[in-house]
């Protein structure tokens, strides 16, 4: 079980990553799609540069739950794949590591979309 200090770091880092997104939205009116793409890509690149892993060690879910964390999983998987299995690993590593998350998103997304019907905003 994590300590209170751990949770404080999770809160601060997780919140701060979201604030970066909010500043982009507020100042440039970026759409949801662009924000998500930007954060995933940024996560992969930062991981490639070796900058994201320390953040994950420090903040746990504070760094893995934001979409940059999804990028971290992809990036880390690709690096490990490349180191272990060579060129083929560079291709399969990222998506292999992220497979669980992607599969869950598609599966639950589909289920929810089939079960529920959208409601008009009041």
């Amino acid at each position: 079980m994590s300590s209170i200090t751990d949770y404080i770091w999770v809160f601060i880092i997780g919140g701060a990553i979201c604030v970066v997104g909010q500043i982009l939205i507020s100042l440039t009116r970026m759409t949801t799609a662009r924000i998500l793409v930007l954060f995933v890509t940024a996560g992969v690149i930062l991981t490639g540069l070796g900058l994201y892993e320390p953040l994950v060690k420090l903040a746990g879910a504070g760094a893995t739950v934001p979409l940059t964390g999804f990028g971290f999983v992809l990036g880390k998987g690709a690096i490990e794949g490349a180191l272990e299995d060579g060129l083929l690993g560079a291709f399969t590593g990222g998506i292999k590591a992220a497979a669980g998350g992607i599969a869950a998103a598609i599966f639950f997304g589909y289920l929810a979309a089939v079960i529920f019907t959208p409601k008009t905003k009041k």
Partner: protein, 150 residues
Amino acid sequence: MEHQERKKKEYQDKVKKKMPKSNTFMECVRAFLVGGLICCFGHFISDLGRLWLRLDIEDSALFTSIVLVFLAALLTGIGVYDKIGKFAGAGSIVPITGFSNSIVSPAMEFKREGYVQGVGVKLFTIAGPVLVYGISTSIVVGIITFLFFR
């Protein structure tokens, strides 16, 4: 022609200056609070995963993602997530729950266009670009690693 361009520029500047603006500072505060809370909740789930299911660090992160994706899909379905989003902005877009919301919300709205060309296609309106750029970048990072660091 030049006069026309100048007039356009003047008008655009005036609009930019006078238009009602949202309070960026308060938006950031709300994004910080909600984003931080979602991450803490995620951390709590991963703690539970390690404690009860005896998962290792990487598996508990995956477990967390799956639980959060499920919960966000459910909240989107019952019409709650858009209300959270209205309050929190990026605070509920940036976490993986926002990714889930961006998958479910277009898909459920296009059920009337059919399960293949409606739901199936629209499931990826926002998730599609995310996967395209995320996976492509990861391959580039992998290739660079293969070429220079192996």
